[in-house]
Symmetry: C2
Subunit: 594 residues, 2 copies
């Protein structure tokens, strides 16, 4: 069975020591968001995750969702857990107080989200989708839509979906065929089939709010002709009471590799009644409002899965006795040493630890930047924060979902055959993690977003801004001899990235395949730099605190930072070599030669 303890100490380290989250309380509306509030909310979320959600994760996987005649039943215990989740206010953490939210920073919601994803990813999908729908309607809905829907989404009595994918289109939303016909009085009739709709139908809430991409009759072709519609499962009267069932139904649920307790639905819209969200033909823009934060959410899923995989692998490596340390028995009184003595087991554990702890710091930093970008009174400060978020969102989505899958597989490898059998719960982590590399835009799509959109944006301002922050940090710490082992490799890799970026820009100007051919490698290179920067920042704090209270905690941070620099960061050597090779090796082979 999987065990899990929320990483409370590490969150205090990241939030209070590394990022100085206290600054958030200075932003308008966030006066209550003190470090103490952060710590107590995260602790309460941890208790809920450990005691309510974790015990339902394995049973939810075994049982899965059941479909019968349009009705979807979640696994035993999910409804009760969801009711408690909702009643305890977890659906409203960072919601607008105007609509019943608690008005806490988004940063805090992301910390809570990591814990949810560690304990039960399938469960967390349901409120996660509602949160996306809330954000889209909060940003683009009209007053009536907001007044009717936002309070109920925040209360969690209604849930939300994002209906994008159709059988013939996933990555290429320009191919959407679902149609919306005006029916007078601001009402539209939506007709089409959507697939892979998470939480499309279930038994957790009274109503489900579908946000549906569809085409108006006169829409231009491609992505510029897509509009967003709000289509409720039950029609809603002006006072919020539920009316008759709308003409939208779940026609099947998918049988999947993992995430089995999350209902993945095929939805049929048959002249379903909907209303337009925002202006016609701007659906792609509105969808990205949901999508960007959802991508950060997937990054947090990778982090959460990495954390729970790590905790269980360490526990197993401490108790499993097998072989002897090569340098002499460490526990001569026992039949064998714990496998934690073996260098390769340490390599696997440290890989998880080094990625997970840096990911937590980076996600929290970007969370903070989202709050700053939304609330800070100074335009330039908001812009700077927004640049960071825009640049690093695809990087974090892709790299952390990859790292989460890798961590789950490393945990399985630490367990050996005992990880491959289902009883220990590790193989479920692998199966659940696998989808994170695909949904909310495949990781290849993230890389194209980075290289094709984020790099050229504002003449390269986003990247320059990020590298400027790193450069300033290196400069600041130039006089510290202890920091050299962290800042030197970081500075070197930043130099390589700058060189590569220049070459790539020149090549891509002549042939767009050149950018696409190495986009994935470029994204990894930038991710490694971001993580190395986080480790350098964390090492700085740790260096100042070793020798005092909790010496072991800070020594461990330093050892992990060194591991990252010595064993993970060198992947950049291969990445730069591969980027240098360019597009030709990929494009030479004729279609028939495959």
């Amino acid at each position: 069975m999987i065990n899990y303890k929320a990483p409370l100490r590490d969150y205090r380290f990241v939030l209070e020591e590394v990022l100085e989250v206290a600054q958030l309380a200075a932003l308008p509306g966030y006066a209550e968001a003190t470090p103490e509030i952060f710590a107590s909310v995260i602790e309460a979320a941890g208790t809920f995750c450990e005691h309510v959600l974790l015990p339902l994760n394995a049973s939810g996987d075994r049982e899965g969702c059941r479909y019968e005649s349009g009705v979807v039943r979640t696994p035993r215990g999910f409804k009760a857990a969801y009711d408690r989740y909702r009643q305890d206010g977890w659906t409203a953490v960072d919601g607008d107080p105007e609509y019943g939210g608690q008005g806490l920073p988004h940063t805090l919601y992301y910390c809570v989200a990591e814990l949810l994803f560690s304990a039960n990813l399938s469960f967390a999908m349901y409120p996660g989708l509602s949160s996306g729908a809330y954000r889209a309607l909060r940003a683009h809905g009209n007053a009536e839509q907001q007044a009717l829907y936002l309070p109920r989404l925040l209360a969690g009595t209604w849930s939300g979906t994002m209906c994008l994918t159709e059988p013939q289109c996933g990555s290429d939303l320009g191919l959407i065929q679902t149609r919306a016909m005006p029916d007078g009085d601001g009402v539209y009739r939506v007709t089409g089939t959507k697939v892979f709709i998470s939480a499309g139908e279930h038994d957790l809430t009274e109503n489900i709010v579908h946000l549906v991409l569809a085409r108006l009759p006169d829409a231009p072709p491609g992505t510029h002709g897509i509009s967003l519609f709000l289509v409720p499962k039950f029609l809603v009267a002006k006072d919020g009471t539920l009316g008759i069932r709308n003409a939208v139904s779940c026609i099947a649920i998918e049988h999947k590799m993992g995430l089995k307790a999350s209902a993945t639905c095929a939805m049929s819209f048959d002249e379903a009644i909907g209303t337009l969200v925002g202006a016609p033909n701007t659906g792609m823009h509105q969808m990205f409002t949901m999508m960007n934060v959802s991508r950060l959410g997937v990054a947090l899923q990778g982090l959460g899965l990495g954390e729970v995989a790590y905790q269980n692998a360490v526990a197993y490596a401490r108790e499993r006795l097998q072989g002897r340390a090569l340098t002499g028995a460490k526990m001569p009184g026992k039949v064998a040493d714990p496998i934690l003595v073996h260098p390769d087991v340490r390599r696997m554990l440290l890989t998880m630890k080094a990625n997970t702890e840096a990911a937590r710091a980076l996600c929290s930093w970007i969370g903070l930047s989202i709050d700053v970008a939304e609330k800070h009174p100074d335009d330039a400060t908001r812009e700077a924060a927004d640049d960071l978020v825009a640049l690093l969102t695809p990087v974090m989505k892709a790299y952390f979902s990859d790292a989460g899958f890798t961590a789950a597989n490393l945990a399985l490898q630490v367990f050996g055959g005992h990880g491959y059998v289902s009883d220990n719960g590790i193989e479920q982590l692998v199966r659940d993690a696998r989808i994170t590399q695909i949904y909310e835009g495949t990781n290849a799509v993230q890389a194209l977003d980075l290289v094709g959109r984020k790099l050229p944006m504002h003449k390269g301002r986003l990247l320059k801004r990020f590298l400027g922050i790193i450069g300033a940090f290196i400069q600041e710490n130039r006089a510290s001899p202890d920091m050299g082992e962290f800042t030197a490799p970081l500075g070197e890799v930043v130099g390589e990235l700058q060189q590569v970026t220049g070459t790539l820009g020149q090549r891509a100007a002549q042939n767009p395949d050149e950018a696409a051919a190495v986009a994935g490698e470029y994204l990894k290179l930038l991710a490694l730099i971001a993580l190395a920067f986080m480790w350098a920042r964390m090492a700085k704090i740790a260096l100042a605190k070793v020798g005092g209270d909790e010496n072991d905690f800070y020594q461990a941070k330093l050892a992990t930072a060194r591991f990252f620099m010595a064993r993970i960061l060198p992947e950049t050597a291969s990445l730069t070599a591969i980027i240098a090779a360019g597009a030709r090796p990929l494009m030479e082979l004729d279609v028939d030669g495959f």
Copy 2:
């Protein structure tokens, strides 16, 4: 649904053009093993795999094995398929004619094995285990054991197992607790519990021959006190007729991530009657007779899974229309281009193709070397061939099982969400492939075998021999300007390996952790060299044949060879950097710091 066609053309290329398999017919007993026989046997195996085994793969996964009161039932259709497999002679391909085998080269059996593993890995486990038991008894059994058991194993009416693992010991077999008490007349009573026993119980054969590692009462502790016992499910009279049930029973089967149609059994031996195989306390040696060829078998599993993953991913990439080529629409008449136009999809497909085709060549070369090592009249030639086999077996087991898992995951990524759902069969490949990185010695154990045993063996003769062959090839082709793009990077990486090997030897002499800490990276480095060598050899053949018949086939080989050199081989840059970092980053962190 998964589709599969046996790679007949590629096998002709590898066997007839690259490796000149005709030379085998010169070995004693192999006169019949002409290239024509190879081609016709592989074709027949392909037909069997495509029409009989492949259709049972998805249903076998869905249904799994069923356990009730000690009885294990394989999924529907498995018994009928096994009967046909046996009747068609597939259990006897490379068996000794003295015991009813067909006496064909092992090389040919390995080619057939790849096809079996592509079509239905779970099914192939049953005869695969029998083959291991046959080899162990053929090498170490006494005359009576051989006369009774070998013909029935080759006929496939009886099957075999390897009973090694116990609940408290997997990688560390020194901890084995199963006991064997002499009971007079050469009979032993075996008592203990074995777990993770593939094919430990099933309904495919009349009898099951368990080869069991156990301790005699006076055995020294650790691995030097382990003996091998033959324990049949049903006792066998001297004329081969079956007697009463022996005191060995299956007490449970595992529920696993994948490989669900292969019964993984917990076996209880309760004073079961057995006979000793070989001398007392030499069980580890005998076990390695099975294990070495089994490791090559796992390498072939990785290859087979990589091939079937590739074939399905290519087919999907041709038919799935999504987005447009960045350089302009390739199919302007359709709503979108096939995803095969996208550089990242090509990267994924080419990664599978480049690994798979080189793996096939390397496995076949090592297969050939096994035959030469067994049959060649010249001592030095046999020794040279055996050196290659010993050096590269752990390399191939680890690297190809990793590559098979990677290929399955790349195929899933090409399919996107359609790969994550179960209908298309791709996610099953991922789940099935995952165990290959663990069983027959985890991939970390393979790396330790390479670095700790194979490198120092005969003062480094094995590696010197292999690098000598590569050096001679580079030398031979020095005058060919066309070969430079393949031999230059190969030569460069060989130089790096030599340097790394020297440094590693010095460091490891002072601290054994130094070797263990980078063993995995060293193994990968050697694997990449072996594959680069195969691509250079294949490129040489292709260069001589482009412009003639089948020009496209040879052009594809060259493009794939170039892809390997430009996009896969550069991983060596990171590996050498990580190896240089040594053990310290892994060993610094205190046990409590994890």
